[in-house]
Symmetry: C2
DNA sequence: CCTCGATTACTACCATGGTAGTCGTGATTC
DNA sequence: GAATCACGACTACCATGGTAGTAATCGAGG
């Protein structure tokens, strides 16, 4: 289960569309990204390239190709975040949270609420330890 | 005060070296990144390109060029993190923290300790409001 | 049948980050 | 003062992400 290391901007946007919408025709993805004003063929090409890399897969439905993501959002998030953390915060994830606080992106009470929520969830479904 | 949007991998590493070491000759930066096995000229070229973009500046010291970063680490962090958050977590920074917890990158008690520490610091030096 | 419209495949192209080779210049040393 | 060395500048080059034009295919409607 290797992680995709160098996702481009557009590729990530396409993955997000697929995650959100499930199986999608090229035109569906194109519609989801219409704010970018890209040609339909651009999306099609990108999907084909991404299939070569194993990021997506397709099945045929009549004339259409229905694409789906082959990588889980959690996996992509894990890779991208940990890459950012190592590049920017010396590999210390806590420093990232610290940054968010100091930059005013999150507030103490929000953090507190989240902390409580997660603690609650953990109590109900305890993590298995490897 | 614009933020550099698309920092490459090497450029960020160079910036980190400059932040850490202060004014540095090309050879200093090269030494700091020796694990990558790059040529000295690669570093020199990169620094020149980065100077064109306003990321670094240099002054002459005898024969040497001493480079320094012209962008603050906080600014770069803010841009890169907020870009990641918008790309990956729908612009919600709290979702990022949530991810860190679920992925086991940080632990609840670490978060708690940090929360306390920041609250303490805030008490001593309250935030100015814009 | 034959044409039209929708759809994807193929392919050429561009911009950019990154890499390194070669050159000029000035200092050092004998 | 000539040979050598250290250093950065300049430049050519490559790989890759992204962009879009053109061609091929196939169903539908007459």
């Amino acid at each position: 289960m290797k992680g995709p290391r160098h996702l481009g901007e557009l590729q990530l946007a396409i993955l997000r569309a697929l995650w959100q919408q499930g199986d999608s025709a090229v035109s569906d993805v194109h519609a989801a990204l219409r704010d970018r004003g890209l040609a339909l063929t651009t999306i099609a090409t990108m999907l084909r390239k991404m299939e070569e890399k194993g990021l997506v897969a397709h099945r045929e439905n009549g004339r259409q190709f229905l694409y789906r993501a082959r990588v889980a959002p959690e996996l992509v998030q894990r890779n991208l975040v940990s890459e950012l953390v190592s590049r920017l915060f010396d590999g210390d994830p806590l420093e990232l949270v610290n940054h968010l606080l100091r930059a005013g992106e999150i507030e103490l009470d929000e953090l507190d609420a989240l902390r409580r929520k997660v603690a609650e969830a953990e109590r109900n479904a305890p993590r298995e330890r490897p």
